[in-house]
Symmetry: C2
Subunit: 427 residues, 2 copies
């Protein structure tokens, strides 16, 4: 049994919190004294996020901490204005202030964020804040979805190429059959794992909802001989997908359609969606269920691969606002709103949480090694924001705040089932 | 890949609907004419259960059917009184009248019940009836639970010995790694499968909620070297369990406790419950979650093995009344009420629906071959009721009405996870 202990986190983690090349220019401390009231506010802030084992260093170099032992990292707050913003909404402004360079993290950024994720969960204050903020979240109607997806996925294919895998441009959790796999091997393994769960057979018809840069649709056609209709509303991604498929030997087997999942038509043997559910909003799950119900053949099966949570809750407010507008990872209970109204039978659910932490680790390494290239495209604040988002996501998975679910399902009457899942592992 | 097609149902099914030895004595048809109104009522009855492809033969030998093709079976209704009872509440009175011999089934009973299960789901009338009947269901408070469990499990150990496996008296779904396994092999395979999912290690402490005749607790101690505290409120079952453990070589490792799961105390590495959840009632799931939360160590993991459903609903009213008082198999969405309030992380869910159909098939064969022995203990009505219950349960699984879920979970922070599930299949 390969155990996840091999997925070592700190201190052997290669990525440190503040690589010099993304260090902020803002280094002019205010110089003013930090008052007793400032320090009292800082302690309140630590309490509001559940007293993680971090220190907060104020603009006058004074440090506030709660724990006796050495802190895993120090958050440097460069001005009173920054402190007040953190007090008002730590979840949102941590991201804003880190991006602009008004706060820095000394020490291991991943360890810092993981410590916060671990304690923030049990903080009552934090949840109160979350409830208030629910009302400013982005909508997911077809019109809003288009804007939301455009904001994240249409920024530039070249940017994503700088740090995703070269095998199939997969911007979703890979599957590390063994922890020493390369990112390319693990992304191929992920696609095989899903295809084996779906038991794809040559000639079958597949509909894919949310196909990214089209790599998985192309893979299914090439490796399993199926015919794929792949939907996506990101224009940039589909340009890339169409370019790739024209150069491939399966251009007659794959059709990319620039349209919303709600407009899927036709009947298929298989429904598959990898990394789209996070974007569609819980209130649309019933509608997604209806789409699957109307497009799946009588013996059909489907798989949804998604980021999820152990309990209902909202995505980090800053990530939702700046990175993934409209996104909301569901709990399994919430996901059942897709399946239960149509009596779909859940066959298999697998949680690949630590696989996503490892995937993010690979992405971060590439993001760092390709800094020069990325800096030609984007400014400092953008790079700091993305560095924080990728590191924070890794911390969300290592701390158990976020999960990665693969949910396999079929029609209730379908008795064409394997006796065990051993075919997923016999090679 | 072993496919479930090998699990052939009709017509090669060895067990036929009405073995002569359990044929009812009531064979004196009323002799009266069946009126047009009787036949109209019969058609209404067929409609209320969604027009399955069965025939209904009335007391004057006249037959009512809806489909053109040959019916899979014929239900013989021996009197107008029986017909009226079926009209009032088909779900409940089918069982009552079959047990008393006032209705018979000509042809394959399993095929008959499967056909009904397949159509009844979509019948609006049926669901209306179900809603009304919800209020007469049995309660599951500690006092009621004791009565409910007594009614089913304390009838006689010898009765269950007559048709359960000899390996460990498992009255729960077996695991057929390959479909040609014997019942004994498959019950041992089930226990290994659960222990491997739980990754039991020698010296660990395990608490089992609802331990039946104690076979699994004994198995875990013998095969995996763990220390088990096993709870059950059935006095008869624990007498048997204690007798067996005294004769074993692990009497120092297993303690059986005659108490309600709500009274579990102590801290354990592992929580396991096989076939108890069906009995505790959805309204007590939050309480069960609290019990698990208070008794599980920080790195602990747990597994719940239970009959379930694709969508929320009630157990067949007759089975709930006569066989399993207070029982209610949950949907996965309902099950999440156990886990989500405590942020337990779901690692793996497997649906073994057809394994339970096959298990029931084995039980039915043994039930039949040991008729002579059983007839010495119980009267005709009891035997007919149990024959219907076992066959009906098999039909519920083959028709996809019932599911069998194994849900593996752990604490949210636990990163001591395997990279893949391959260890479940590598032997």
């Amino acid at each position: 049994m390969n155990k996840s202990q091999e997925f070592t986190l700190t201190p052997t983690d290669r990525i440190k919190s503040r690589p010099t090349h993304i260090k902020s220019d803002i280094d002019s401390r205010v110089g003013a004294t930090a008052t007793e009231f400032d320090k009292w506010l800082t302690r309140k802030l630590l309490g509001a996020i559940g007293f993680p084992n971090i220190s907060i260093q104020l603009w006058n170099d004074e440090t506030v901490k709660q724990h006796e032992e050495t802190s895993v990292a120090t958050v440097i707050v460069k001005s009173r204005a920054a402190l007040l913003k953190l007090i008002i909404d730590p979840e949102y402004y941590f991201g804003e202030l880190f991006s602009s360079g008004e706060i820095e993290v000394e020490g291991d950024l991943h360890a810092c964020l993981e410590a916060i994720y671990r304690t923030i969960r049990s903080s009552h204050n934090y949840f109160f804040l979350n409830t208030l903020k629910k009302y400013r979240r982005r909508k997911n109607s077809p019109k809003h979805a288009l804007l939301n997806i455009h904001q994240h996925y249409d920024i530039s294919n070249m940017f994503y190429q700088a740090w995703l895998d070269n095998a199939a441009m997969q911007y979703t959790c890979a599957y590390f059959e063994s922890p020493d796999m390369t990112l390319e091997q693990a992304q191929l393994a992920k696609m095989h794992h899903i295809c084996r769960k779906l038991e794809l057979k040559p000639g079958q018809t597949v509909v894919e909802a949310g196909c990214g840069w089209g790599g998985f649709a192309r893979f299914m056609a090439q490796e399993y001989g199926v015919n794929v209709k792949a939907y996506n509303i990101s224009h940039e991604q589909l340009s890339y997908a169409n370019e790739q498929i024209r150069k491939s030997d399966v251009s007659d087997k794959v059709e990319y359609i620039e349209d919303d999942y709600r407009n899927i038509t036709g009947k298929y043997d298989v429904f598959v969606s990898v990394g789209m559910l996070e974007h569609i909003g819980i209130e649309y799950y019933h509608q997604l269920g209806a789409v699957i119900n109307s497009c799946l053949n009588e013996q059909g099966r489907g798989l949804i691969h998604t980021i999820g949570r152990n309990e209902p809750g909202l995505l980090n407010a800053w990530i939702e606002s700046r990175i993934f507008p409209g996104a909301c990872p569901p709990s399994l209970g919430q996901m059942m709103q897709i399946f239960e109204p149509y009596s779909f039978s859940i066959l298999d659910i697998e949680n690949l949480r630590l696989h996503y932490a490892k995937t993010l680790d690979h992405w971060l390494q590439r993001f760092e090694s390709n800094q020069d290239e990325i800096q030609k495209m984007y400014d400092e604040a953008f790079i700091r924001a993305w560095y924080l988002y990728l590191t924070g996501s890794k911390a969300a998975f290592t701390s158990g705040t976020m999960q990665l679910f693969q949910v396999l399902f079929t029609r209730p009457h379908n008795n064409d089932l394997t006796w065990s899942r051993s075919h997923l592992y016999s090679r």
